[in-house]
């Protein structure tokens, strides 16, 4: 490292510190001003989508709240390790967790009785990420209708590769399409999205399910072809791909992958609102926006009231689907 580089680095570090200090001192009464470092506990190992999201957010959050934001990876137990840490923490806003839909399906199945959505406060929704169905470029299928026709002709022998076992977020998305179309597909479970893409490219499964982000480059490189997206409207980056609804399949478009922030039960609503505001403010920064657009996710501005309502609806929907699939009984 040259002297000038080192100086530049020192300068930028001290600038950031001054800025952070200034912001903290200038913070109005209603802004979130934690009195210690804030921990974001994750249920995943470092490096995945959730980790990148949290670290990008944390970087923008630090100058806003004038405190360090520490990302703690607590994988294990299908989220149980993380949820145990968050549930045991003081509701002072210094310990928060990041959640996905997996948390809700988990609390209805394997973690039923161990954790429940009522054990936590659901503070802010940050990202929504619709799932999409895709095939390899040279596939004969061009739409969800083609897929449904093939399944009807083959008696359900169409392989769909997606993330997680039967009862996972993406698997439920598939069963919702099954109901709407009156067909059955064959679910092939994978443990990572790159594996799903590789299997579709190699011809080992017919259809892949994924969120946009990890698949985006393969669409751009013209290696994958989209069949449809499970969402209210088409994706901005892939405007040619129709939604399930446009193709005539009535599937509940609230079934979205999400990334949100939650905390231990008993946190004052006012504090929750302050945390949500700070998060949404951090999301407006240029570097977060660059990341979010490149990842293919959409922003959400839901605070504690809206997000708690959203969680309630999502859980009800998941419960219906899991019951219909025979995975849980009431």
């Amino acid at each position: 490292m040259t002297i000038s580089n080192l100086k530049k680095l020192m300068l930028s570090v001290s600038c950031a510190a001054t800025l952070a200090l200034g912001l903290a001192q200038g913070a109005a009464a209603e802004d979130w001003a934690p009195d210690g470092p804030v921990e974001f506990v994750l249920h995943t190992k470092p490096g995945g989508g959730v980790d990148v999201y949290t670290r990008t957010l944390a970087k923008e959050l630090e100058p806003l709240i004038g405190q360090k934001v520490v990302v703690v990876n607590a994988p294990g137990g299908g989220g149980a390790t993380q949820m145990a840490k968050v549930r045991a923490a003081k509701p002072d806003g210094l310990t928060l967790g990041v959640n996905t839909v997996t948390h809700f399906t988990g609390m209805l199945t394997n973690l039923r009785g161990t954790f429940s959505p009522d054990d936590f406060e659901w503070i802010a929704l940050s990202q929504i990420d619709p799932i999409l169905f895709f095939v390899a470029k040279d596939s004969e299928l061009n739409s969800i209708t083609d897929l449904v026709d093939l399944a009807k002709a083959n008696g359900g022998e169409v392989n769909i590769g997606g993330f997680g076992p039967v009862g996972s977020m993406q698997n439920i998305g598939m069963t919702m399409l099954e109901e709407a179309a009156g067909v059955k597909f064959n679910w092939v479970a994978f443990e990572s999205t790159p594996d799903i893409i590789a299997s579709v490219l190699g011809g080992h499964v017919d259809i892949g399910v994924s969120n946009l982000g990890p698949a985006l480059e393969f669409f751009e490189a013209d290696r994958l072809k989209g069949l449809g997206v499970l969402g209210e409207k088409r994706l901005g980056t892939l405007p040619d791909m129709q939604t399930f609804g446009e193709q005539g399949y009535d599937v509940d478009t609230n079934w979205l992958q999400v990334r949100g922030v939650f905390g231990p039960k008993g946190m004052p609503l006012e504090l929750q609102q302050q945390i949500a505001d700070a998060i949404h403010k951090a999301m407006a920064t240029e570097s977060y926006q660059t990341y979010a657009r490149a990842s293919g996710v959409e922003d959400s501005d839901f605070g504690p009231v809206e997000y708690s309502e959203f969680v309630k609806n999502l859980t009800t929907l998941a419960e219906q689907q899991l019951t219909a699939a025979g995975l849980i009984s009431n």
Binding site: K45, D51, N73, A74, G78, T81, D195, E220, Y291
Partner: protein, 498 residues
């Protein structure tokens, strides 16, 4: 291609790139040497520091750390029989016996030189074959993966000389343990005793630390303080055992190519590469009887292979955006933070990334080897520390390493339980290697076996219609049967001679 390589070399005009390379190599060396840490955690720890950096600087630092950490695992494997990663397990089989014979310095020197040679050779292969070989690897479907795992498992026969029965028992234990956790297809908990901490299966690092290192501590306690290892001093920094290395060149070259090829296949990582290369070297060696008792050839094969697998794992990442190993999966995150999404267009959209990686691997080799050789001089003295102190240090490392792997107490309990189990099994002379092999491969085998049947309407023909699957299954059968047959033949020859 030469023009593009020039882009890679030109990146090294920036002193920050050099800094990243040296820092990454040093950090990786130390992180790899601490059991419980290792390459994927090391790369993850470095990511936050790369935020403010230029993408090229950051990827050079991360790749240097990855390669050096994959080597660092050999140090504790050789010195105190504590492989910190599954990929260093095969290194401990001969490395630790060498330490016990007072030849720790020699083992460390051979391990670093083989690692360096492995990276050099495999990077050459990477530059030439990254794109075509990654495309080829896409043809690996569930049937092929199952067959590949079977090949890995068939090595058990070759790794447990003396008693194939005990080897098979150990393999059974490993396979049984691999079934713990949530069923990958249905999500049903299996053998979790209602405890969510078992949902994701037994954590590998604590199991490794327990079986190998903690059980060794128990043996040290039992043996008492009397025994002190003698160690042969290993000359100056440049006094290399040239003759020994030249004698190993075939094994190193072969293991490098094998390690690279196995590394390219997503999901088959450095550990399978080192197991397979070790077994192949043993079979082709002029002195197979030395393997497992302190063969430099064994150390060289395992180390050349697990470092070559680094370059192999980078191939599908750079060519297609599909990670070849858990560590490269984390690197995708690092590149994404920089606004670079690895994918099939990386070579056209940001050629500076792959070509700088190629060049940095080459330039990194002499740096890594120098660090390793200098380090070997220091580490070799570990053998001079009195046994009771070593036992205490290793026990400490085991507990800290297990805790660090998850930052909860669960892996600590797992490590302790496996320490006791390892002690008992070693008393019964049941080999530990097949347990680790089965634990690593069991899940891959089961998942792909079921995935193959599910995606093929339950028909079994998926296992015999693909030529690649058939060849792999035949290799597995031969590898399993040959040691038994040659034993039988030897016994007959003996009988005939009488």
């Amino acid at each position: 291609m030469f023009e593009s390589l020039a882009i890679g070399f030109s990146a090294f005009g920036d002193p920050m790139v050099w800094f990243a390379l040296v820092f990454g190599a040093l950090a990786g060396y130390l992180i790899g040497a601490i059991p419980g840490l290792g390459p994927s955690l090391g790369v993850a720890l470095l990511i936050p520091f790369t935020y403010g950096m230029d993408p090229v600087v950051s990827i050079v630092g991360l790749v240097a750390l990855y390669a050096a950490a994959e080597y660092g695992g050999a140090i504790t494997a050789i010195l105190i029989n504590s492989p910190g990663t599954a990929a260093a397990v095969a290194t401990s089989w001969d490395g630790y016996p060498l330490t016990q014979q007072g030849r720790a310095g020699e083992a460390l020197t051979v391990s670093i030189l083989s690692s360096g040679a492995g990276i050099f050779v495999s990077t050459l292969l990477l530059v030439i074959t990254a794109v075509p070989l990654s495309e080829f690897a896409l043809r690996f479907g569930p049937g092929e993966y199952f067959a590949l795992a079977l090949v890995g498992l068939s090595l058990v026969a070759g790794l447990s000389d003396g008693s194939p029965l005990k080897g098979t028992v150990a393999m059974g234990i490993g396979l049984a343990l691999a079934t713990i956790g949530l069923d990958v297809q249905t999500g049903t908990p299996r053998f979790t005793m209602g405890n969510p901490e078992f949902f994701e299966g037994l954590p590998l690092v604590p199991v490794l630390l327990g079986l190998y290192a903690l059980s060794e501590v128990l043996f040290m306690i039992e043996d008492g303080p009397s025994e002190k290892l003698k160690s042969t001093p290993i000359g100056g920094l440049l006094a290399l055992p040239v003759k020994a290395i030249l004698g190993l060149k075939t094994a190193i070259l072969r293991s490098s190519v094998l390690g690279y090829a196995i590394g390219v296949i997503p999901g088959a990582g450095a550990s399978i590469a080192s197991f397979v290369s070790y077994a192949v070297s043993k079979r082709l060696s002029k002195t197979p009887e030395k393997f497992g008792k302190g063969s430099l050839e064994g150390v060289a094969s395992s180390e050349a292979a697990n470092n070559s697998a680094v370059a192999g794992a980078l191939a599908p990442l750079l060519a297609l955006g599909i990670p070849g190993s858990p560590t490269t999966a984390i690197m995708i995150g690092a590149l994404m933070v920089q606004g670079i999404q690895p994918g099939p267009l990386l070579f056209t959209k940001s050629p500076e990334i792959p070509y700088t990686v190629f060049v940095s691997l080459w330039i990194g080799v002499p740096i890594m080897v120098l660090i390793g050789l200098a380090g070997a001089r220091i580490w070799a003295r570990v053998a001079n520390i009195p046994r009771p102190a070593i036992a205490a240090i290793v026990a400490g490392i085991c507990y800290v390493g297990a805790y660090a792997s998850h930052t909860t107490m669960f892996p600590v309990h797992v490590m302790t339980a496996f320490g006791v189990l390892g002690y008992i099994l070693r008393k019964l002379e049941i080999p530990l290697a097949p347990i680790i092999l089965a634990l690593v491969l069991g899940e891959m085998m089961e998942t792909n076996f079921r995935r193959a049947l599910i995606s093929n309407k339950g028909e079994w023909d998926i296992f015999y219609t693909s030529p690649m699957t058939v060849i792999l299954i035949l290799i597995a059968i031969l590898a399993f049967a040959l040691p038994g047959l040659s034993q039988l033949r030897a016994r007959r020859a003996k009988a005939a001679a009488l």
